[in-house]
Amino acid sequence: MTYAHLFKTSLTGLTTNRSRSALTILGIVIGITAIMLVISLGGGAQALILGQVQGLGTNTIAIIPGREPTGPSDVSALYSDSLKIKDVQALQNKANVPDLKFVMPTVFGAGTAAYEANAYQVSVFGATERLAEIFDLTPNRGEFFTSDDVLSRTDVAVIGSKVVEHLFGSDNPVGQKIKIKGRNFKVIGTLPPTGGGSLFNFDSMTLMPYTTAQDYLLGIKYFNRIITQTGTDAQVPAAAQDIARTLRDSHNITDATKDDFTVQTQQDLANRLSTITGALTWFLVAVASIALFVGGVGIMNIMLVSVTERTREIGLRKALGATDKDILSQFLLEAVLLTAIGGLVGIILGASLAYIIAIVLSKGLGVNWQFIFPWSGAIMGLVVSGLIGLIFGGYPASQASKKSPIEALRYE
C-alpha cells in the first residue's frame, strides 16, 4: 500500500464521520488553545515587565536593606533598618564609588491624606529631587520639590492624579494644604495620570522630600531603599562591587555572606522577573496539559468504538489482501491526522485569542502590551498533538490490526 493511498484511506475514514471527528478532537483543540494562550500571554507579560524594568534605566543600581535569606533560621534577612545616612554619605564619596552619578535615598510609607471633608489612602514616597529625573515625572500643575526642600525638611508634597481626584475633584490643589497623620503638607505640584501599566503607580502617591517623610511622617532614621545611577551601563558591574565594599566597610562586615544589605542591578531584577514569569508560564502550561491528556483519552475512547463499529470494514480489507500492518497504519494515521488537525486548530485559535487579548489590554488598560506569536509553543503543540495521536491511537489501531478477517463474513 502506497503512502498516498494510506493517507487517502485514512482521510476518507475521518470525513465519513465528520461530526464525530470534530467532537473527538475538541479536547485536543482546547488543550492546545490553552497552551498557546498561556505561552503567548506569558511572553507578552514578560516583555511588558522587562520593558518597565529597563525603562528605569539599565544604569540604575538599587540597594535594599537585608539580604536574601539563606535558610529559614537566617534572621538577619530581616535587617530592614540597616541603611543609614552615613551609608549614603559613604557612597557619595567619589573615593569609594567613583562611577556613581548620584545617590538617592528613599523611604516608603502609607497614610490617609485629608482635605476638608475628603480623605484618601495614599502611598507616601520620600526621595530627593532626582526622583523627577529618574522616573521622568513632570508636574502638570505647579512644580516638583527642590534640593533646598530636601535640605530644609520643608512640608511640601507633590500628589498623583488619583489623589487630586479624590481630595480636590476638579479644583486646583496647588497651594492648598493636605493633612497626613495630623500634619499639614502644602501641595506644590500635581502629576498627570501615568496609567495602570507602570511598575510604580504614581497616581495614588504623595511624593515629598525623604527628610520630611522620615522626620515628620514616618519617624524613622533609616532608608527603605537607596537608588543610584552610574554614568554608563558598562560601569554598572564595577560600581555594584564598589557599593558592596563601601557598605561592608561602613557596617564593619568582613564576611560577604553576612551582608545586611543587597545590591540589585536592573539586570539582576530583569533576570529574576524573567525567571518568575517563565516559571509561572510553564506551570500554567503544565495545567493546560491536563486538558491535552484528557483529550488523548477521549481520542482513544472514540477510536476503540470506531474500531468495533468498523469490524466488517477491517475484515473485508483483510479478506481483499490488507496485511495487519496496512490496517495498523490506516487507523494510526487516522488518529494522528485527527490530533494534528486538532493541534492546528488549537494553534490558530490560541494565537487569535492571544492577539485579541493583546489588543484589548493595549487599548483598555493603556499599557504597551505586545502580541507575541509563540513559535516554540506552536511547534511543540503540533508535535505533542501528533504524539498524542500515536500514543492514544496506538492501542485501538493494534486492536484493529489483530481482528480476524472471518469477522467480515459473519452475517448481520
Binding site: 502506497t2 483483510k318 479478506a319 490488507a322 472471518i406
Partner: protein, 241 residues
Amino acid sequence: MTTNIIEVKNLKKAYHDGITETVALSGVTFNIRKGEFVAIMGPSGSGKSTLLHLLGLLDSPTSGHYSFNGKQVTSYSGDELAQLRNKEIGFVFQSFNLLARTTVLENVKLPLVYSDVPEHEWNERATKAIEDVGLGHRIGHHQAELSGGERQRVAIARALVTDPEVIFADEPTGNLDSKSGKVVMSIIQRLNEKEGKTIVLITHETSTAEHSERIIRLRDGELESDTQVKKRLSADDEYVK
C-alpha cells in the same frame, strides 16, 4: 491433464472456548481441479462456512494439509496469506460488503490498493471489471443508489479486478430476489465457462447448486457426498431479458 488447484487432506477445525472443544470440521479430504465449478452444500452447522474460511485462507486449520495452487499454505505467515488472498483469490459475500459512501469505481479498486499492480493500471482494470458485470453505466454511483443485485455485481467486479485463480462465493444469491439472483448466477457461470475461473460456491439451495458441475455435501463437519451434477442448470436459459 488438468491440475488440482485445491488439495485438502484430512482438514480439521476445532474451536476452543476455554472449557469445551467444538469441532466444526472433523477431517475432510477432496480436491478441486483448476477451472472447476464446485458447490458446497449442507444444512447450517454442517461446517460449510468454516470450510470456506479455510479454503479462502481467512482462517487456519487445527490440523490437516491444504495445498492451494501448489503451495503448502498451512505454513504461510499472515502477510504471505494476505498477499495470496489479494492475488489469487476473489471473494463474493452474501451481504455484499461494499464500503459505505463510496462509488462503484472506488469499491472495485479497493483490492488494487493492497496489490502490486501499478497505479496507472487501476482505473483501466476496475472499469473493465465493472463493464464485465454489466454496470458500466453505474460506475460513478454510490452503493446506496444501487439495487441489491447491482451491489452483488459490484462485489463480483471487485473479486475479479486482481484477475484471481479462484472465486469463493458465499451464498451470493442469499440476499437477492430470484430475478437478481439469476443475473448474478449467470455472471458467475460465465466467469467459469468463458474465463476459466475456478468457482467455489457455498449455498443451501439445490437450485443454485445445480448451476455447478459438482456438489460436495457436508453434514456435521464431515463429507457426506461428492457427486457430479448430471443435469446442469444454465442461468442464461432461464434468464428472461
